[in-house]
């Protein structure tokens, strides 16, 4: 259940997985969820409010926290937020966002981009 891991967290004093700041964001979620579970629109508004104050970088910490706490709804929500943030962006933007580098052999990446050139249409300007 949602609350087992939370109890475990409070019992475990040497917990590095969830910092305090993140805890204050994630922990209240189960209660709020139960209260307004019936009304999806309200939940969406609450979620939007929550994220207005959160930087994209913080999202990783939120995802890791929700994952550790085994809190599926929050995890789904945070992952969806990241997905929305990169959906129409260029490959370079996505690389920067995730801190990844291209490790393809020279020419391999060009071949892929050429083959799937049609899917690169309509991408946002950086």
């Amino acid at each position: 259940m949602k609350f087992c891991t939370v109890k475990q967290y409070f019992d475990d004093e040497n917990n590095n997985n969830v910092t305090n700041g993140i805890a204050t964001t994630v922990i209240p979620l189960p209660n709020k969820h139960l209260k307004i579970k019936a009304n999806n629109k309200e939940m969406e508004q609450y979620e939007q409010e929550l994220l207005r104050n959160v930087m994209p970088q913080e999202l990783t910490k939120l995802i890791l926290a929700a994952n550790y706490l085994n809190f599926k709804e929050a995890l789904d929500f945070f992952c969806r937020t990241v997905a929305n943030a990169i959906q129409n962006k260029s490959v370079d933007y996505v690389r920067k966002f995730f801190g990844l580098e291209s490790d393809f052999e020279p020419g391999e990446e060009e071949k892929l981009c050429k083959e799937f050139a049609w899917s690169f249409e309509g991408v946002d300007e950086d």
Partner: protein, 385 residues
């Protein structure tokens, strides 16, 4: 921002599977890890099988460099212009269930948007423009190999269509790479270019053939290989309609005339009794937005295709625009006819759009795995376009 690297592959995959297919294709070029996650056969973009794409292939009769192909992804709500090296012609290209087929002079198929083509042994009666169905037989130990059913179509004698020939139905056995002959379509249905006057739907082990104008319906049992009796399926007021196999229901979609005027309706069809129950009507303003003229017979140029949770309706005569709308069947209930529908306009085709003599349209699921792993192996001769 570098902390994202600390996400496990599991969590990365969780984020990635929420993305629409075109984004995923681009994302596969980010790095080798992402390419291997995204192109793996176990990875799938969520809900992609219920939200099939809509394809529009425009043909110019004399100048093939004016041919164009477009694909619409309902999840990103965007049109994509497909590469012009896709070769096709009206006479021998058909589509069903995620594949594109060429049926004459040889029979070959390729997953939509992939460049990998497989050829089977030839049909007993090679033909143009048949109705086609794709299914996976439970007898087939290798579940990945599709079986096909080919119904109707025409043969040419020189340049003329042979109208006397009532062509046998043929079913493909992927294990033996051979075609079995089966009883032909009942004679109530006219011979001729099947896809312009007939619509077909594969549903619960039966292949349904339906006359768009005649409203005749008959179904072929894929196991027993027998055609059912021919019936008429025509709710009151219907002038023409299409039979569509959706996720959990057989749907009849078409123009219905009444005292109040014409409307485009959807009926749920009970596959055992052929009883119909109306469950949706396209909003009038949406229907009229598909036309630019006020002629009486303007509705006749509407075409309808569908699969999964989506039904697309478009105007195939409205040159250079081909306006379309899509209906999403959102809920399924146990009550007869239940299901809420959301209608919306499909965005404009990206310019430039050439003038076409003919338009081939179809609806198909898109397999990310087939697109990225277009180099897969399969039985039969293979080639790349």
């Amino acid at each position: 921002m570098t902390e994202f690297r600390s996400l496990s592959v599991d969590l990365m995959e969780r984020i990635l599977c929420l993305l629409p297919i075109p984004t995923l294709i681009r994302a596969s070029t980010v790095c080798k890890l992402w390419y291997s996650i995204i192109s793996s056969s176990t990875f799938s973009s969520s809900s992609s099988s219920l939200h099939p794409w809509f394809f529009l292939y425009g043909l110019h009769n004399t100048s093939s460099k004016n041919n164009q192909s477009f694909a619409f992804d309902p999840i990103s709500n965007l049109w994509f212009r497909l590469p012009s090296n896709t070769s096709f012609s009206n006479n021998n290209t058909t589509s069903a269930a995620g594949f594109l087929f060429t049926t004459a002079p040889t029979f070959s198929f390729s997953p939509v948007l992939s460049r990998h083509i497989s050829t089977t042994s030839p049909l007993h009666y090679s033909r143009h423009n048949p109705l086609l169905g794709v299914f996976y037989s439970s007898h087939n130990p290798n579940h990945n190999r599709p079986s096909f059913i080919v119904v109707g179509g025409v043969r040419f004698i020189g340049n003329l269509v042979d109208i006397e020939d009532r062509l046998a139905v043929e079913m493909y056995n992927p294990d033996l790479d051979s075609w079995d002959i089966c009883p032909p379509l009942p004679s109530d249905f006219p011979t001729g270019f099947s896809s312009s006057s007939l619509s077909s739907a594969l549903f619960k082990g039966r292949f349904y053939v339906f006359g768009i104008n005649s409203s005749f319906v008959s179904s072929f049992d894929l196991e027993s290989r027998v055609w059912s009796n021919v019936q008429t399926l025509r709710p009151p007021g219907v002038s023409f309609s299409f039979l569509i196999s959706c996720k959990d229901r057989l749907v009849l979609a078409g123009i219905c005339n009444s005292q109040a005027g014409s409307s485009f309706n959807l009926w749920r069809i009970d596959e055992k009794t052929m009883e119909f129950s109306e469950f949706a009507i396209m909003p009038q303003d949406l229907l009229y937005s598909l036309f630019d003229s006020d002629e009486d017979d303007k509705f006749a140029c509407l075409k309808c295709v569908g699969l999964g949770d989506l039904i697309y309706v478009f105007n195939e005569d409205y040159h250079k625009r081909y306006p379309a709308c899509v209906c999403e069947i959102t809920t399924t209930t146990q009550q007869s006819g239940g299901g809420k529908c959301k209608w919306r306009r499909v965005p404009q085709l990206p310019s430039p759009v050439n003038k076409f003599h003919q338009v081939i349209s179809f609806c198909s699921t898109v397999s990310l795995h087939s697109i990225l792993q277009g180099r897969g192996g399969d039985a039969g001769a293979e080639a790349y376009v």
